[in-house]
Structure formats: C-alpha cells, structure tokens
Symmetry: C2
Subunit: 194 residues, 2 copies
C-alpha cells in the first residue's frame, strides 16, 4: 500500500467521523425542541416579553402590597416598538390588566403567611410572588399612552420587570359579585376600601 493510498484512507475516515458528528448537532436540537412541543402533562410553554416596566421599586425599596391603592407610585411600561400598533385604543380604558414575569422570585413553598395576616394559607390562596410559575397580575391605572410608552399609576412591580401581556380591565366580566370575598380579604391582611 503506498503512502498516497493510506493518506486517502485517512482523509475518508476523517470525513466519515465529521459527517457522523455533524448529524449529532441537528439531532440534539430536535430533541430539545420536541420536549417543548409534545402535548403532554405537564407542558412547557415559552413566552417572550413584549415590554418592560420602568419603576422606582427595587428589592431595596420594597414593593407596595396594594399598588392600585397607592396611586402616587408612578412609572412607565415600555412596549417594544414591534407591538406599538397594537396599543391603539388602549387609552379608552381607565384601568388595564398587566401580566408580567416576576423575575426576582425564586422557588415556591406552601403554606405562606401573607403580610399583616395572623395565620398561614395555601400558596394558591395568596398572591405571594413565589409561585410555581412566577406570573404577576396587576390592575393598573392608565394615565396616558405616548407612542410605545404607557404612563401608569399604582404599580407594584419592580424596575425592569418583563411584561408579558396587556389587556383592558372589563368590570362587567372581571368584577363579578361586588362586595364578595371581603371577610377573607381581611383574613389575609388586606386593608379594606373605604
């Protein structure tokens, strides 16, 4: 066997190894993707933030428990430019629902003792930020929309909290009942509206 043919064999073998390793990359990528796509229980769901809160609240300042009742707390929601057109007509609403990712929450446990409450509650019976999915929900007063910037009041989200969705508050479907729940609201330590 000449050196030339041995060199050829070497090149072929290297090519085969390269091809095989090349297959590993797309195969791995497909595995990771399908893990998210298979509709099994439980399912993984991937969202992408549509904007970001700009507020003066940080872990150092703390976050007010009842943002909506503290209307002096001002801030903005910066909606990314690709969604600006979808903000049309939002100003017709006095209050909006903001759904956001409580990015500083870590882990969850149950039960929890809400602030100002004398006893513990199961986690889902509270609004604790430390939940299996750290999804924040707030009803916020909308003061003004300027381009892609929402000027809001009564915030309880930390600065740079990623925003996932904005919806109008529709009292006729979102606020059934009226004076419901008031006893348990006292139990979990909420101050009552006057």
């Amino acid at each position: 066997m000449s050196h030339h043919r041995l060199f050829q064999k070497m090149v072929y073998l290297s090519l085969v190894v390269l091809l095989l390793s090349g297959c590993a990359v797309p195969l791995l990528a497909r595995t990771i993707q399908s893990e998210e796509q298979i509709k099994q229980d439980p399912v993984k769901i991937v969202y992408q933030s549509i904007g970001i809160f700009h507020t003066e609240l940080t872990p150092q300042t703390g976050s007010p428990r009842q943002g909506i009742l503290q209307t002096e707390i001002k801030g903005t929601i910066e909606v990314y430019p690709e969604y600006q057109e979808a903000l049309r007509d939002l100003e017709k609403y006095e209050y909006i629902i903001v759904i956001y990712h409580m990015h500083l929450s870590k882990g969850w446990h149950t039960p929890v003792r809400p602030p100002s409450s004398s006893h513990t509650f199961g986690l889902f019976a509270t609004r604790s930020p430390n939940r299996p999915n750290s999804i924040g929900f707030s009803v916020i007063k909308l003061k003004k929309v300027e381009g892609n910037i929402l000027h809001v009041r009564g915030i309880d989200a930390f600065n740079r909290t990623p925003v996932l969705d904005i919806k109008p508050l529709l009292p006729s479907i979102d606020c059934p009942g009226g004076k419901i729940n008031l006893d348990v609201e006292k139990e979990i330590g909420l101050k009552q509206k006057k």
Copy 2:
C-alpha cells in the same frame, strides 16, 4: 514511514476530530440554554403547566365570550398532585383568577374587530386570544375543591387548556372604580350587567 506509523497517525487524527465534534454538543446545548437566561430585551420565559382544564368546550362547540356570565357552563381544573397542598384555603374565595395558556391560538395581528362590535381596536385594547403571548385570564366561580380537582362555573377555556396559575380574586385591589369603562365595554360589544 512504515504502514504502522501511518496507521497510528490516522488513529490520532480521528481521535482529534472526535474530540472536537464531542465539544460541539455541550457548546450547542449551552448556547440554547443561555439564550433563555441572558436578561436582555426581550427575554424568553419558560413556564410549566400546573394543571389542565376539563370542559365541554372545543373549537367545534366554540367558546362563550363572557364565561363568567354563563354560570351554567361547568367544568373542572385538574391541578397536578405535586401542587395539591398549595390549594388549601382556596375554597374561602367565591371567585378565582385562572391564568392559562390558550394552546389553540395561532399568531397575532392588529387591529382586530371584537365580536358584536362595529369597528376595530388595537389588539391590546381587546381580549382576543390571538396575542403575542397567548396568555388567557379569566375570573371563574369556584364551587368546590375536592383533593386536586377544582369544580368551577362560568368557564370560557377549551378542553385540555394548560393552566399556568391560580390566584384569589381580591375585589379591593382587582376591581377599582366600580362602574368604570362601561362606555367602551359597549363599544367592544359586551352586554352590560343588569
């Protein structure tokens, strides 16, 4: 050069190629992971469903627009067993907030014309399911909790909708204002409460 040494060289070269290609896999995995971890604008957020809706609503039956006003629509939320303990005390509330993933929604566009409305609105000024993040929000009447099963009324989610979070409805912070927004509710075609 003997055949033996050429063969050795061939083996070494193949080993080098194998090692290099072996590095590609963890490197790729790290790239995919860090894409979700880097706190940039916008950020990707991964959730895992905590339960699932069991209802009689399908794309064929359609979904009522104002589930809460149609209390004859019954169903259950199956919360996965690992979260059952976190449901303690939930029964103290008459209404709960359910946040879910509208798994049958596809894409989004703006503006949209809400059903029964004569004109279009920017997407975020509506409750259309076709949103950048297909996050559903409903206030639902809680009838009973049996183990990890919530019996609910006034549902507008399709069967097998993945549930992301359950929170108590707290009217003192979630329902500010009172008879606010009623004009725009008429505009978007909502029937008013009597």
